[in-house]
Amino acid sequence: MAILINLNTRLLVQGITGQQGLFHTRQMIAYGTNVVGGITPGKGGQWVEGKPVFDTVRCAAEATGANVSVIYVPAPFAADAILEAIDAELPLIVAITEGIPVRDMMRVRRALDQSQSRLVGPNCPGLLTPGQSKVGIMPGHIAMPGSVGVVSRSGTLTYEAINALTQRGIGQSTCVGIGGDPINGTSFLDVLQMFEDDPDTEKVVLIGEIGGTDEQKAAEFIGQHMTKPVVAFIAGRRAPEGRTMGHAGAIVEGGVGTAAEKIALFQSVGVRVADTPEQIPELVAS
């Protein structure tokens, strides 16, 4: 079962002939993901790694019966690529691209609201259901199948957490990177609900950051609706106030969204918060 992706995932790669797209298509295939084709406008008819390339998502989806698309298209063209996947009515779209302008994402978000598609990302590492399917850029070998759901706003920090779990022999049901951008497709809340509903998930690890209010909403949801135990880690405890730390999402706005505030909220609803990434598996196991 797991959530979002599994052995039934039939994946399209938008931007399959680009450097990143090609590299990670190989990685995903090597992991066992069922990549059924790719899209690069103007390169329709070519073949990459034994997979057909199409000019448009609609043609690709019709020809392959794909149900997920992953986007490696550069930022200036990424919003258009997401809109194309929405237009082709793909149920799940995973946008890896970072640096998409806010204005573009506001438009995408409105189009999304009127569609049946779910977007994960952008600016995210994608999804990994260990042993079944990998969509995005997470290094597959650090994960192992199990029953802990992982959800994170961060990219590499997610790997850190997954790696720490695996090192301690704790496997994962699905790992979800929701991305660090201020406007994205899927929130902590969405994923927590899915984990709560997923029979294969027993516990959840949530990796948050300073800035924004997503963690606060997640804490509220956990307090009211989650029956499964949640362990959290929040990055940016020592960040100086008012400076942007890389992520568009990771800015402390006038006292809203500090690490201390988020940690306190999580603890108030029974979530145990780790001090170091290595502490996460200890809390999960205990």
Binding site: Q20, F23, H24, Q27, A75, P76, I96, E98, G99, I100, P101, V102, R103, M106, R107, R109, R110, P125, I137, M138, P139, I142, S152, R153, S154, G155, T156, L157, T158, Y159, E160, N163, A164, G180, P182, I183, I207, E209, I210, G212, T213, F233, A235, G236, R237, R238, A239, P240, R243, T244, M245, G246, H247, A248, A250, G254, D275, T276, P277, E278
Partner: protein, 385 residues
């Protein structure tokens, strides 16, 4: 990226918003000439990318050109919150009946732009929000529909704008929204928006911030960036597409990913704070960085004299560990450095990366497996060094 007041006003004017026709001076003499040409009373205003310049004495009224020159003399070179004033704007002074506030920014939670208006202009809007929140009128804008006239009417009605000004106000608010959208702005603010004695609207002061991610499609805006006020390292970091913030510790951090970079800072602080040791910087090389980017990042860290140890923490996903290793080797082939280098390299292509680093025989490399281990070793290296 923030624009100077004079840059923001010139852009607003291009969209049809009335602004005072002042000019920018880099010397007191220039300021005098501008005041002479304008005639009458002028305002001399420090152009710095920070707030609070009024309180710092960076804004002065001058009744004569000689006075304008004297004020410019005093203001130019002033240090306002770490920003050195290199230019002043000399604007004609206006006779004002009322000052209002009008601004547009993005509401993250609502995922929409929001236009904000208040009859209490001329002061910090955050301050108004604390003191008298009911004085602030907000309208969220559907980014697909754009700002509708009825919403502007709601603002005008909400701040009790005199009716004869509504038409002018509608035009101005639409122009502000057009400017906000066309500029990929994250903030477009007119404060104060003056109602003059003649009954016209006039944008006396303006702030604009541009979404850095959008600059690829705004070469004209990108060219407006004033790097004279910021540390050279930040300018260089931006040129290399790095996210860099200088801090006051001793451990130069080079990490891929903002979250991991923050966690790395947190860990070095955690293990080092007892000894007064911490991160010298936040540095995220981003996703998919190549060898050249890594080299550029190391060069920036190596030119910081406070750095006593380097912590390289890479968890490869889209960034490939072998590429990072190549960057490290390239940087250290240029700069000889005896500083301890704590290297943690995991994830995509990690074996290849480790092999490359070993073969390069760079001096004083300390390897680590986990983040905590790397942070502890970095703290130990600074203490020992």
């Amino acid at each position: 990226m923030n624009l100077h007041e004079y840059q923001a006003k010139s852009r607003l004017e291009a969209f049809g918003i009335p602004v005072p026709h002042g000019q920018v001076a880099g010397t007191p003499q220039e300021a005098r000439r501008i005041a002479e040409n304008l005639g009458g009373t002028v305002v001399v205003k420090a152009q710095v990318l920070t707030g609070g310049r009024g309180k710092a004495g960076g804004v002065k009224l001058a009744w004569t050109p000689a006075e304008a020159e004297a004020h410019a003399q005093a203001i130019l070179g002033m240090n306002i919150k770490g920003h050195i004033v290199r230019q002043v704007l000399v604007d004609p002074a206006s006779a004002i009946k009322q000052e209002i506030y009008l601004g547009i920014t993005n509401d993250r939670a609502a995922r929409k732009p929001v236009i904000i208006c208040s009859a209490e202009g001329g002061m910090d809007i955050e301050e108004v929000n604390r003191r008298k929140p009911e004085a602030i009128i907000r309208e969220h804008v559907d980014p697909l529909l754009g700002l509708c006239d009825f919403q502007i009417n709601a603002l005008a009605s909400g701040i009790e704008l005199p009716y004869p000004l509504w038409k002018q106000f509608r035009r101005l608010a639409q122009a502000l929204y057009d400017c906000f959208i066309a500029s990929d702005a994250t903030l477009c603010e007119i404060n104060p928006l003056a109602i003059t004695e003649e009954g016209d609207l006039l944008a006396l002061d303006a702030k604009m911030s541009i979404d850095d991610n959008s600059l690829f499609r705004h070469p004209d805006l990108a060219a407006l960036r004033d790097t004279s006020a910021e540390p050279e390292a930040e300018t260089r970091a931006r040129a290399a597409n790095l996210s860099y913030v200088r801090l006051d510790g001793q451990i130069g951090c080079l990490v891929n990913g903002a979250g991991l970079a923050m966690a790395t800072m947190d860990m070095t602080s955690l293990y080092g704070e007892a000894d007064g040791i911490g991160p010298a910087n936040f540095l995220d090389i981003g996703g998919g960085a190549d060898a050249e980017t890594v080299a550029a990042a190391l060069r920036i860290i190596l030119t910081d004299p406070d750095v006593k140890a380097i912590l390289l923490n890479i968890f490869g996903g889209i960034t490939r560990a072998d590429e990072v290793a190549r960057g490290v080797i390239q940087a250290f082939s240029e700069f000889e450095s005896d500083l301890p280098k704590i290297v943690r390299l995991v994830g995509t292509n990690e074996e290849e990366g480790r092999r490359l680093l070993e073969e390069a025989h760079i001096p004083n490399i300390i390897t680590a497996t986990t983040l905590s281990e790397a942070a502890r070793k970095a703290v130990a290296a600074v203490k020992g060094g």
